[in-house]
């Protein structure tokens, strides 16, 4: 029905095609219609992929379907909702890029399409919501440009429309193609520039290389000499290697590097671990410096060269390769030397740290060092040992602890760390207070008119004005506050109708679910909970104690009562379990139904794709299809579409609602007039 109303205003062609197809493939047509309907009523930014494929499948089937889709989409495009139009444009784009017939159809009344998608005409502005409208315009311009790029040659109206928007209305197209070309160009330029820079660097490197390499070699040689000296000291070294080294110095550079490497490797393999002593300290210092030089300066320089050599693109390949080889050799030498230094225990970082140590002393001992603080505590305790005994008014616990202290210290001195740590664990943690200042101090305190005189003040001292010791102690009394033990009140956990559990936290009785019982995670009462057992056991114990003294009749009565109570409990429990079972069943059934519906929906969609619908029959179609299956979904989408159109209440609106209503107005006016009246009366009191 809806189709009819929508297309009543459409072209006569629509009706013709509809009439033509009414007999043959009415169901297919309605399928396509409902598919398009669903695809274009969604609040999302993009088309649903599954729907799109099924629409494409349908449209592809025949030319009539293409015509139908075109008519339907044009009708949809005229809807007064930008979101719908946006989705229609997306869908049209998909079809336009694929079907030639669709292109010809759309191009025939291209101005309609442009008016409703770009919204360039004053009399036909884009409908609300505004943000979707801007998205729609941007998207349709993008799409137009793409179409023009691809098909502008074949469809003149398309080209004319594009030119009209661009040249006459001066709309800014995203110009994607040109932007891409520009980006490409820029990238190329950047590469060219960087290549030139690299080339320049390479030239400089080629020029400077002999000097730099000799510099590095000198460093390496010095380092080597240091090693030699150390080795000589250690006299675990054969003379032949040394000689060869000395010989090598005169040879060609290339050879020298190789020999250097060999020597280094030999040294590394042979060198025993040497320790730094007072005698060889200067040697170690120079080695440290050299190592630092290597690490910080030479290796980074070498890395730079490598980068330059890798990236440079020069005609002169031979020289580059030669340089490359040299650089790699040097790098290997450097790394070997470094490793050797490390093997000798020279650490640059450590060295640095030592330097720092000289300047900043306090960094050495961390404050939070447990042991250190413990020792300090112990020392303090020792000094106060004598005074401690005199404190009598503190808590018992404190006193016992303090009495324990001397023992603890003595133990500590004997070195039993475990005991001490145990004690530390036991020791109470007291909050800081002024009483700690004069912990156990017995002496009297001098006083002047300003207050208590504390140590290390430079003023006059009046030795007559004193505060007696007991007064001081009284002043120093420790105040402690009661803090209740925090205990988490367990939640009620009774099952609720919506499937959740009651989260009320009450001590004894939940106002909604009665006395609080222990329950499991499903909300079922744990009847065998220890509390209940205890309750049940209580009377029985009494009973047994009674048994000896009282008559058998009484016990019988008790027994009967007990049994009755048990029976009642049993019945109730059964009822409860039954109702639980029912509930579970219902839940299961519901879940099953949902699952079935989902499966059916999927099958239906797949069905539209593969054309199996006819094979299975009409029954499936009744359930399947967006007609029924995703009706709910469509409804939801419709709702959200409608919600898009409604303006959101802003803070301003809310404030206005509160402040500008008539009651508030009247109240304000009333207050103002009253105040004015009062002021007047006050000012001209004589008139009243």
């Amino acid at each position: 029905m809806k189709t009819e109303t929508e297309n009543r205003g459409g072209s006569s062609k629509t009706k013709e095609s509809r009439l033509r197809k009414e007999g043959s493939s009415g169901t297919k047509e309605s399928q396509l219609h409902s598919l398009i309907d669903v695809a274009t009523t969604s609040p999302s930014d993009s088309l649903d992929v599954g729907l799109l494929t099924s629409i494409k499948y349908h449209v592809r089937a025949s030319d009539d379907n293409v015509r139908l889709a075109h008519d339907l989409l044009l009708a949809k495009l005229k809807k007064k909702h930008s979101q719908v139009r946006y989705l229609v444009v997306l869908l049209m784009d998909e079809l336009f890029m694929r079907s030639k017939l669709f292109r010809t159809l759309l191009v025939n009344n291209f101005d309609t399409f442009m008016v409703f998608s770009v919204g360039y005409h004053v009399s036909n502005p884009l409908p609300p919501p505004v943000n979707r409208a801007t998205a729609l315009r941007a998207k349709s311009m993008e799409v137009l440009e793409k179409w023009n790029d691809n098909f502008g040659l074949h469809y003149k109206p398309l080209r004319l429309g594009y030119e009209y928007l661009r040249d006459t209305l001066h709309l800014q197209f995203p110009n994607l193609r040109q932007a891409a070309a520009q980006a490409e160009q820029q990238k190329k330029e950047r590469e060219l520039r960087s290549q030139a820079l690299v080339l320049e660097k390479y030239e400089r490197l080629k020029h400077d290389f002999p000097a730099l390499s000799s510099d590095i070699e000198q460093t390496l040689k010095q380092l080597e000499e240091c090693f030699e000296i150390l080795e000589a000291e250690d006299n675990g070294r054969d003379a032949s290697a040394k000689e060869s080294d000395v010989k090598d110095d005169d040879d060609a550079e290339d050879y020298e590097v190789n020999s250097l490497r060999r020597a280094l490797s030999q040294a590394a393999s042979k060198a025993p671990v040497m320790l730094e002593t007072q005698d060889n300290k200067p040697i170690f210092d120079t080695m440290r410096d050299l190592c630092k030089l290597i690490c910080h300066q030479h290796s980074s320089a070498i890395d730079d060269w490598m980068l330059v050599l890798i990236r440079v693109d020069t005609q002169d390949r031979d020289s580059r390769d030669f340089l490359f080889k040299r650089v790699i050799d040097i790098r290997n030498c450097l790394s070997q030397a470094k490793r050797k230094c490390l093997n000798l225990g020279i650490n640059i970082q450590e060295h640095n740290k030592d330097d720092q140590e000289d300047e900043i002393i306090w960094e050495e001992g961390g404050i939070d060092n447990g042991e250190a603080s413990a020792t300090e505590l112990a020392q303090e305790a020792e000094t106060r040992k004598a005074a401690v005994t005199s404190i009598k008014k503190d808590d018992d616990l404190l006193i016992t602890q303090i009495e324990n202290l001397p023992a603890a210290t003595s133990e500590f001195t004997s070195g039993e760390k475990s005991n001490r740590s145990q004690l530390l664990q036991e020791a109470p943690v007291l909050p800081w207070g002024p009483y700690l200042d004069r912990w156990g101090a017995e002496h009297i305190v001098p006083l002047n008119q300003r207050g208590l005189l504390l140590e290390s003040h430079w003023g006059r001292v009046d030795y007559d004005a004193l505060v007696p010791a007991d007064k001081v102690v009284e002043l120093n009394m420790r105040a402690s506050y009661y803090t209740p033990v925090k205990e988490e009140i367990p939640p009620c956990l009774a099952p609720l109708k919506n499937g959740g559990l009651c989260q009320r936290r009450d001590l004894r009785v939940c106002p909604l679910h009665g006395p609080i019982k222990q329950r499991d995670s499903n909300g079922n009462v744990l009847s065998s909970s220890p509390d209940d057992k205890a309750l049940m056991d209580g009377p029985r114990k009494e009973e047994s104690s009674y048994a000896g003294s009282s008559t058998a009749a009484v016990t019988d009565m008790e027994f009967v009562k007990d049994i009755a109570a048990k029976a009642v409990a049993n019945v109730r429990a059964q009822d409860a379990t039954e109702s639980n079972k029912k509930r579970e069943k219902k839940l299961l059934a519901k879940r099953n139904r949902e699952h079935n519906a989902a499966v059916l929906r999927e099958a239906a969609l797949a069905n539209t794709v593969q054309g199996l619908g006819e094979a299975i029959g009409e029954e499936l179609e009744k359930y399947a299809e967006p007609n029924v299956g995703s009706m709910r979904q469509t409804k939801k989408a419709r709702k959200s579409l409608r919600a898009m159109l409604q303006p959101k209440p802003t803070a301003k609106d809310r404030l206005a609602e509160r402040l500008l209503n008539s009651r508030a107005n009247e109240a304000t006016v009333h207050v103002l007039t009253r105040d004015e009246d009062a002021a007047y009366r006050e000012a001209f009191a004589n008139q009243w």
Partner: protein, 432 residues
């Protein structure tokens, strides 16, 4: 087609009929021309087009809203675009306000000198009618109309006079004489601005004008006053129009009207009796309920088609002044100036601008053939090229579009590879 040629060969089809048939088939297949493109030189909407220069029917004259006038050669292309396989026709020259005495405001009407292409005449909203020399592209003569010029016309038949009829915002129509540079006639009768004037294609003395008051008046320039006012109510010869009670009360001698219709060439007798609002019954006849926006005489001058802002097209029998009551589907004509319609030389089809489209109607039955869509803004004018069956239309979107019958593929220089590529690029591309 070949059947027709065969019949012509055997002589069963007379040559004029053959020609007419061929022209007709071509006409009905008219569409946006892919092979021809006019690169508009104007920076704003094209208001007026005229391409029928009497000598060669080759040069298209266009006037635009930015005061520029351009001339295009529609036979000889200036460039050829291989990618789209279209020939481009750029302006041979363009004159605008930079030329001495050029038009400052929108050019509303252009006209070739009927004898040759050495002169053309333009009228503009800056109150001037300019006579240009085509070869020097300078203004040779200026007529100050003291009101906006809406339309001008020169008679193609005239042998004894060379007058430019101008319709302006003023109620009077003036005839300007190129030879003397002065106004020879002032024709008063319209009660509002005159949007269209056109010389008759039958008599060199007869001028037709249509105005904002909805009246179409016929003038014979040899006599004083207008001799005929068309009445949309009058549709039969010898039958008087329905008489309103009110008017019959005021006028006793209404039956005199009829005699007037029979004696069409006699000038209207102005009655002494005035109606209550000061206009005589004859004077208050209207051809359209709105203003008359377009007038187009058929080539034989026996009929005339008028378009009004009441969205109607009317076909008039010129001789009797009757409304033929051909029912054309409604058009959409709005705006504050006239439009240009076009009629094919054999008087079979009429092209009418209607908003963004050009509507094609059969003149005699009123049947709508097609609507030519391609402009993206209001279409102002169309001009028909009789030899090539081509239609040229100008619109506010600054384009001049060419509409032509579909061209048979030119086999001589047909590039198969190109064509194949083009077809491949435009094929269906279903990936799934």
């Amino acid at each position: 087609m070949w059947q027709m040629v065969g019949r012509r060969e055997t002589g069963r089809l007379p040559p004029h009929k053959f020609r007419a048939l061929l022209q007709k088939t071509r006409l009905y297949s008219i569409e946006l021309a892919g092979h021809k493109e006019i690169a508009s030189a104007h920076k704003s909407g094209v208001n007026s087009l005229q391409q029928i220069d009497a000598t060669e029917a080759r040069y298209l004259l266009s006037g635009a809203a930015d005061g520029s006038v351009a001339v295009y050669d529609i036979e000889q292309a200036t460039a050829y675009d291989h990618s789209t396989r279209t020939s481009k026709h750029e302006a041979l020259f363009m004159v605008d306000k930079r030329v001495l005495n050029g038009h400052l405001y929108s050019v509303s009407c252009v006209h070739w000198y009927p004898i040759d292409t050495g002169i053309f005449v333009t009228g503009s909203f800056d109150n001037f009618v300019n006579v240009w020399d085509t070869n020097t592209t300078q203004v040779e003569l200026q007529f100050n109309m003291s009101k906006k010029v809406y339309s001008l016309s020169m008679s193609t038949l005239a042998t004894t006079h060379m007058l430019i009829a101008t319709g302006t915002d003023d109620t009077r129509i003036r005839l300007c004489d190129i030879a003397s540079g002065a106004f020879t006639h002032t024709l008063s009768g319209h009660r509002d601005s005159v949007w269209v004037v056109q010389w008759s294609t039958r008599s060199e003395w007869v001028l037709v004008s249509g105005g904002c008051d909805g009246a179409i008046r016929f003038w014979d320039i040899r006599r004083a006053g207008c001799y005929q006012i068309l009445d949309q109510q009058c549709s039969q010869i010898g039958r008087r129009p329905p008489v309103l009670k009110k008017s019959s009360r005021t006028h006793g001698r209404e039956d005199n009207l009829c005699t007037k219709y029979l004696n069409a060439s006699s000038p209207i007798r102005q009655r002494g009796q005035k109606r209550s609002f000061g206009i005589s019954a004859v004077d208050s006849r209207t051809a359209h309920y709105g203003s008359v926006a377009g007038l187009q005489m058929t080539a034989d001058g026996l009929h005339m088609i008028s378009a009004g802002t009441d969205s109607r097209l009317r076909l008039w029998d010129v001789e009797s002044g009757c409304n033929t009551l051909v029912n054309y589907p409604s058009t959409y004509i709005r705006g504050n100036k006239g439009i240009q319609m076009a009629v094919t030389p054999d008087s079979s089809l009429v092209f009418t601008p209607s908003l963004n489209a050009i509507l094609v109607y059969d003149v005699w039955s009123g049947h709508s053939y097609s609507s030519l869509r391609g402009h993206y803004d209001q279409v102002n004018c169309c001009a028909f090229h009789p030899q090539g069956q081509e239609l040229y239309t100008g619109s506010n979107d600054r384009k001049i579009l060419v509409w032509a019958p579909r061209r048979p593929i030119d086999i001589d220089n047909f590039d198969y590879e190109d064509a194949e590529q083009a077809i491949k690029a435009d094929e269906d591309a279903w990936s799934d």
